[in-house]
């Protein structure tokens, strides 16, 4: 009974928090997604650095792959409408994200899938597989950035 009650309360609260999340200030949403990308960037760098070592530690790659996969699934929720450059907040997110939502969604799904595949590869302990899978993730990072992120300089 208690569980049912808790579930009922949760059912009431969760949509409410979701509403709050949507209503959150654009600046906060932008900051949150940037922080999330930073986590992914750090995981990516941690991975690449490890592969350069004389004897790469599979456990380190695995930890990075887990962090990357956990952050990867959060990217999708980071781009609600009204959180682009029009907010006046500094962001490299291009309007095309909201103009071509299907394309953006597909690119995001590709990345999330690649991150998951990298996590799976990291669990095999096979460095060659890990390296190939990490490279594939990098390609999806780049693929998305080329289209949806403001070019540097």
């Amino acid at each position: 009974m208690k569980t049912v009650k808790l579930a009922a309360i949760a059912a009431l609260i969760l949509p409410a928090t979701a509403m709050v999340a949507i209503a959150a200030a654009p600046a906060d949403v932008i900051k949150a997604r940037q922080d999330n990308f930073k986590i992914m960037g750090k995981a990516m760098k941690g991975t690449m650095d490890e592969f350069k070592l004389p004897s790469p530690n599979p456990a380190v790659v695995k930890a990075n792959a887990n962090a990357l996969a956990a952050a990867a699934v959060k990217v999708k929720g980071g781009f609600p409408k009204g959180t682009g450059a029009e907010t006046g907040v500094k962001t490299d997110a291009l309007p095309v994200i909201w103009q071509k939502p299907a394309d953006f969604k597909a690119a995001d799904a590709k990345m999330a899938a690649a991150a998951k595949a990298f996590q799976a590869a990291a669990n095999t302990g096979d460095l060659a597989k890990m390296q190939a899978a990490a490279g594939a993730v990098g390609q999806t990072c780049k693929g998305c950035h080329d289209t949806f992120r403001k070019p540097r300089s």
Binding site: M44, K45, M48, K52, P56, D126
Partner: protein
């Protein structure tokens, strides 16, 4: 109008002014700078890093050549203090400046500025990274993510400073060409200059010494491209060791 003597009237003989290494390095910079800008602009980081490493080798060469090269290439031969620079400017304005063979005290600042910024720029480039952290400089693994991001931003800023100095450099060349009637570009191509009698010719370093320095610079550049093993990177001929307790099919 004869095309030989450039210094009005009193130029009587042609001397070797810039040695071959100085000229090769100089014109390589001219070719590589636009290539580096273009590859960065197009996001071709792999090619950018490769060209950047050639640039690094050239900068290294020029720095060492500034210590052991021909007299007109040596820093000790042309770098002067603020007082000397002020005195030179005053005498140049009065039209009483002595004939300087090589960089004059003011022009020395341009050399120091450009070479200093190029050194800083290739250094920043070795640790810089794209925000994806996939494409990165060869020494990126030695610094933290945040340091690498900061270095990447500085890499962009320093490029703009270099551009500004290049503009100044070209403006100075045009000033010399059209106001002072001196063809600096021709001298940087041929390495020779017409000078009045009584001017002592610079002492040229032997070519073999240039080759030795070039080999050293190239070896260092290649070593950097490998990620300066054994610090955080393995030698290219070392394969990563197989993972213990795992055979090729144990997880299939």
């Amino acid at each position: 109008m004869s095309d030989a003597p450039d210094v009005a009237g009193d130029a009587t003989r042609s001397i070797a002014l810039w040695d071959l290494p100085v000229r090769l390095v100089h014109w390589s910079f001219v070719v590589l700078m636009p290539a580096l800008w273009w590859t960065a602009e197009k996001g071709n980081i792999k090619l950018h890093v490769t060209i950047g490493l050639i640039m690094l080798g050239l900068v290294l060469f020029r720095l060492v050549w500034g210590l052991v090269g021909s007299s007109t290439a040596r820093f000790a031969g042309f770098v002067r203090g603020p007082a000397s620079i002020r005195a030179y400017i005053a005498s140049a304005r009065a039209g009483t400046a002595e004939h300087v063979v090589g960089h004059n005290p003011l022009g020395a600042l341009s050399v120091l500025g450009l070479l200093g910024l190029l050194t800083l720029q290739v250094g920043l480039g070795t640790i810089a990274q794209d925000t994806d952290a996939v494409a990165s400089g060869p020494l990126n693994h030695l610094v933290s993510y945040d340091t690498a991001v900061a270095a990447s931003k500085a890499h962009e800023l320093v490029f703009n400073l270099i551009l500004a100095l290049i503009v100044l450099h070209i403006a100075a060349i045009l000033f010399y060409r059209f106001v002072k009637q001196e063809k600096l570009v021709a001298a940087m191509i041929t390495g020779r200059k017409w000078v009045p009698a009584g001017i002592t010719a610079p002492r040229m370093a032997p070519l073999w010494r240039g080759l030795v320095v070039a080999v050293i610079a190239a070896v260092v550049a290649v070593w950097i491209s490998w990620g300066v093993p054994p610090w955080g990177a393995r030698w290219p001929w070392d394969k990563p060791p197989p993972v213990e307790g795992l055979s090729e099919d144990s997880y299939m």
